[in-house]
Symmetry: C2
Subunit: 115 residues, 2 copies
DNA sequence: CCAATATATTGACATATGTCGATGTCTATG
DNA sequence: CATAGACATCGACATATGTCAATATATTGG
C-alpha cells in the first residue's frame, strides 16, 4: 500500500524557484499550501520527530506523548502534513505508521533556491 | 540606513535542518514564524516580484497593481514579510523601496535540508 | 502653508485555524 | 460476539488572518 498523498504531492510545483521569476497565481497557491503545512510549530516538531526515527517510520501512537498535545490534535496535524504530501502513511493492523516524503520537502526547498 | 529587520532576522535559527534532529520548542516556534510568512500566495508573489527587479529593489507603489490587491492589503503583506526578516526596506522621500534578504531565505531553505 | 501623493494604520468583517472532550470506526483478541 | 485499544471525526470554542474602505501620517512641490 503506502500510497502517496493524492492531494498535493502530484502537482509538485517543484523547481519553481521563487526568486528566479515572478510566480504564477497557481504556483503561488500551491507553494503557499506547502509552506502553510510547515507554518505551525507542532507540525514542524512532528515532521522532525518522524524523520528522527532510525527506521524512518514511526507509529502515530508514539507521537502523542513527545508532542505533548492531545491525540485528536496530533491526528489533525498529521492529516495536514499528509494532505500537503509531506508525509506518507501506512495502516498495519490497528496502528498507522508515518514516514517523511523527502521529495516533497526537497521540492519546497528548491522553491527557496538562490535563483 | 537600510537596517535589517530587528524582529526575526537575528535569531536566524539557521542551520537547524528539520530532518536531522528533533527540533526544540523554541526552534520550532521561530521556524514556524518564518514559514508562516511564506504561507500566503499574495506574499509569495510579492517576494517573487521584488526579487524579479533588475535593480534588486522596487518601490512599494509598483507592487500594488501587479499584485491585484488593495494598497492597504499590499502594505499589510509587506509588513509581514519585513517582520519575518524576508525583506528589507528603505524610505526615500515619499517612497519606500523593498528588497529581498537572501540570507533569510537561505536560512529557511537550510531548515529543509536533506538531513 | 496648502494641495497632492505615497504609505501606514484603524476598524470591521468573514473565514480559517489550533485545541480539546466526546464520540465514532476499525481491528485484534479472548 | 464482546471487549479493548488505536485512530479519525465531530462539535465547540477562542483566536488569528486576509481583505477592504476610511482615515491618519508623512513628504514633496508650488
Amino acid at each position: 500500500m503506502a500510497k502517496a498523498a493524492t492531494t498535493a504531492a502530484d502537482e509538485q510545483v517543484c523547481c519553481t524557484p521563487l526568486l528566479a521569476a515572478p510566480l504564477s497565481d497557481d504556483d503561488a497557491d500551491e507553494l503557499a499550501r506547502g509552506f502553510h503545512a510547515l507554518a505551525d510549530p507542532a507540525r514542524l516538531r512532528l515532521l522532525s520527530l518522524i524523520a528522527a526515527q532510525p527506521e524512518g517510520e514511526v507509529c502515530a501512537c508514539d507521537l502523542v506523548e513527545p508532542l505533548g498535545k492531545s491525540q485528536p490534535t496530533v491526528s489533525h496535524h498529521l492529516k495536514v502534513l499528509y494532505e500537503a504530501g509531506l508525509v506518507d502513511r501506512e495502516k498495519r493492523g490497528t496502528w498507522v505508521w508515518y514516514r517523511v516524503v523527502p521529495e516533497r520537502v526537497a521540492a519546497l526547498r528548491t522553491a527557496l533556491a538562490e535563483q
